[in-house]
């Protein structure tokens, strides 16, 4: 019984001690992504429903880390709620989260006509004007 109590207390103390070292300002990654997408969201004439999502891992010939790309996709989806980001370019509106190289590669190979608004920071709002 004493061993149980002492173990529990010591683990509770260890947990507190290890988390006390966490950054007191917190991880602001999500806030930065919310901010990054805020202007694009204002411009997007869709308040809900589905839009396309295009990132480096969708562009042929561009090398990228799958884990990083998936993490960025998840962050983008979290920020863009309540709009669903489908990994496809078959939508009228597409959000491009692309490095410069990936953007130019995609643009060179894209079929159809598009209007692109560059929000800087590798973020593009792509409007498909012709199928």
């Amino acid at each position: 019984m004493a061993a149980l109590v002492l173990s529990a207390l010591s683990y509770a103390f260890q947990a507190f001690n290890s988390t006390a070292e966490f950054d007191a300002d917190g991880d602001d990654t999500i806030e930065r992504w919310d901010e990054r997408f805020a202007k694009l969201k204002e411009k997007l004439p869709v308040n809900h429903g589905v839009v396309g999502y295009l990132a480096d891992f969708d562009v042929e010939g561009i090398e990228s880390s799958l884990a990083d790309q998936e993490a960025e996709y998840i962050l983008a989806q979290y920020s863009m709620a309540p709009i669903v980001l489908a990994r496809s370019t078959h939508y009228e509106w597409i959000i491009g989260n692309l490095s410069h190289q990936a953007y130019t590669t995609w643009l060179d190979s894209a079929v159809g006509a598009y209007e692109v608004t560059d929000f800087r920071d590798n973020l593009y709002l792509i409007h498909r004007v012709e199928p």
Binding site: L4, A8, A24, P82, V84, L85
Partner: protein, 467 residues
């Protein structure tokens, strides 16, 4: 903002506690604490279910909180009619030295755990990875979506967003945000803290009611000292709500087997149903919990009456889960592989070996402790009360919780996703679903600190527990 959130959350907690109180009219003051503990899951679950129904008919319109306030007022009125205010008194604490030491340790553990939760929330205000991948993302879709809230279940979601997951936690965030008219991060923080500390309170109140203050304190200290339970519980995911509900069901089974109070059957049925509203794993628990309840009733004369009350409690969550799963939610990832792949996985022995190794690894480090499981098993056999009373409840509970774990193993065997990744990502977390319930069984079956350090009190303990 935190206090405002807590104030709003008090309404469902009040609703749940009063429903349990009205159904289970035990006048023992210790029962009042237990009723409040059981009311946490009932209240938050009921408001979440009712908000789902509200959204179907009135999405985009405010007014849900007013309805909840009216419901609370009705329940307060109903409860106060039979309440004898003359019996209200502050219980005198006459603590033994063992109880005093344990209570001091409990206060220390609570402060440390609260500090850990606050530290983790400061570092990760949006919760753990799964929280913003699944639960808080769904909350944002429902709250921000207004009339278009059903977009949260779009089949266009990429598979890893798990848009088919049940809505207990997301809907609770959404309705509290709607009430507060702001999407504050305090709401998921307060919600996750309620489940975490609520399960500690529940195990404490149940053992205080059925065993002794010392035993209740001991169990609460162990749960608060469980590192992974605290970290998962502060990560704003749906694992601790499910753990709280499974704990509540195990406690209700225990109370039912002692009191044979037929009204407890309805509360049990409702709580079992809520498990399926918290997580997909809870849907398996609906089957196991219902079979276990039937097993508890085998020697019962009024079996039909008990079952009908149980089903009356189960029906609301069951209908809503069925409507959500069949009418709104996209298909679950387990169906991706198809029958052929499932059969292939079932006959692939290497998968069993990988799962076995992962479970053996958990034996060593489960709960963030060094060999916690062997330590608990040793404690169980070393400190067992060695009576046969309540053995049906004990066997039923252990079988139910073990089968729940077996069902998780079965899911790992057939999963179409990379097995090692899924094991590494979820095994320790999902084992926590049954952990508080196992602790309750453990501390219900072992001698109390009071008995151990003062053998003359054995009779008193026995009477108190009825165990």
């Amino acid at each position: 903002m935190t206090l405002y959130s807590i104030g709003v959350f008090l309404v469902p907690l009040g609703i749940g506690s009063l429903i349990v109180h009205l159904l289970w009219q035990d006048s023992d003051p210790k029962a009042a604490l237990l009723k409040f503990g059981l009311g946490i899951g009932v209240g938050l679950g009921l408001t979440s279910l009712l908000y789902f129904v509200y959204l179907i008919f009135f999405a985009g319109r405010n007014g849900f909180f007013t309805i909840m306030l009216c419901l609370l007022a009705i329940l307060v009125f109903a409860a106060s009619r039979n309440f004898d205010f003359r019996r209200l008194s502050i219980p005198r604490l006459n603590l033994t030295w063992v109880q005093s030491i344990l209570l001091a340790a409990l206060i220390g553990s609570t402060v440390l755990a609260a500090g850990t939760v606050v530290n983790m929330n400061r570092a990760r205000p949006h919760g753990g990875f799964d929280a913003w991948l699944i639960w808080n993302r769904a909350s944002r879709f429902i709250y921000r979506g207004g009339e278009e809230w059903k977009t949260a279940f779009s089949p266009e979601f990429y598979f890893f967003f798990q848009a088919d997951y049940p809505l207990f936690v997301p809907l609770t965030n959404a309705w509290v945000w709607e009430t507060m008219n702001t999407e504050t991060l305090r709401v998921p923080f307060v919600q996750t803290s309620i489940y975490l500390f609520g399960s500690v309170f529940l195990i404490f109140s149940a053992l205080h009611f059925s065993r002794s203050l010392g035993q209740a304190t001991l169990a609460a200290i162990v749960l608060l000292g469980t590192t992974t339970y605290i970290s998962v519980g502060s990560a704003q995911m749906a694992d601790t709500p499910l753990a709280l509900l499974i704990l509540a069901v195990t406690i209700l089974f225990h109370s039912f087997s002692k009191t044979r109070d037929t009204n407890l059957s309805a509360v049990t049925g409702f709580t079992v149903g809520l498990c399926g509203w918290a997580k997909n794993e809870g849907i398996i628990f609906i089957i196991l919990g219902s079979l276990s309840f039937y097993f508890l009733l085998i020697q019962e004369r009024n079996k039909a009456q008990e079952i009908s009350r149980y089903l009356a409690g189960l029906v609301l969550p069951l209908i809503i889960i069925a409507y959500f799963k069949l009418g709104l939610a996209p298909s679950n990832y387990l169906t991706e592989g198809g029958l052929q792949e499932t059969l292939q996985h079932l006959t692939d022995l290497s998968r069993y070996s990988i799962i076995g190794r992962a479970i053996l690894g958990e034996l060593r480090s489960f709960a963030g402790w060094f060999y916690a499981i062997p330590m608990f098993i040793l404690y169980y056999f070393g400190m067992n009360k060695q009576d046969n009373d309540g053995s049906r409840w004990r066997i039923t509970s252990i079988a139910m919780l073990s089968l729940q774990i077996l069902s998780y193993i079965a899911v790992y065997v057939i999963t179409p996703r990379p097995l090692e990744f899924q094991l590494a990502h979820s095994l320790d977390r999902i084992l926590l679903h049954v952990y508080p319930a196992f602790l309750f069984v453990l501390f219900s079956s072992t001698v109390t600190p009071e008995t151990l350090f003062s053998p003359s009190k054995i009779e008193t303990q026995g009477l108190q527990s009825g165990n």
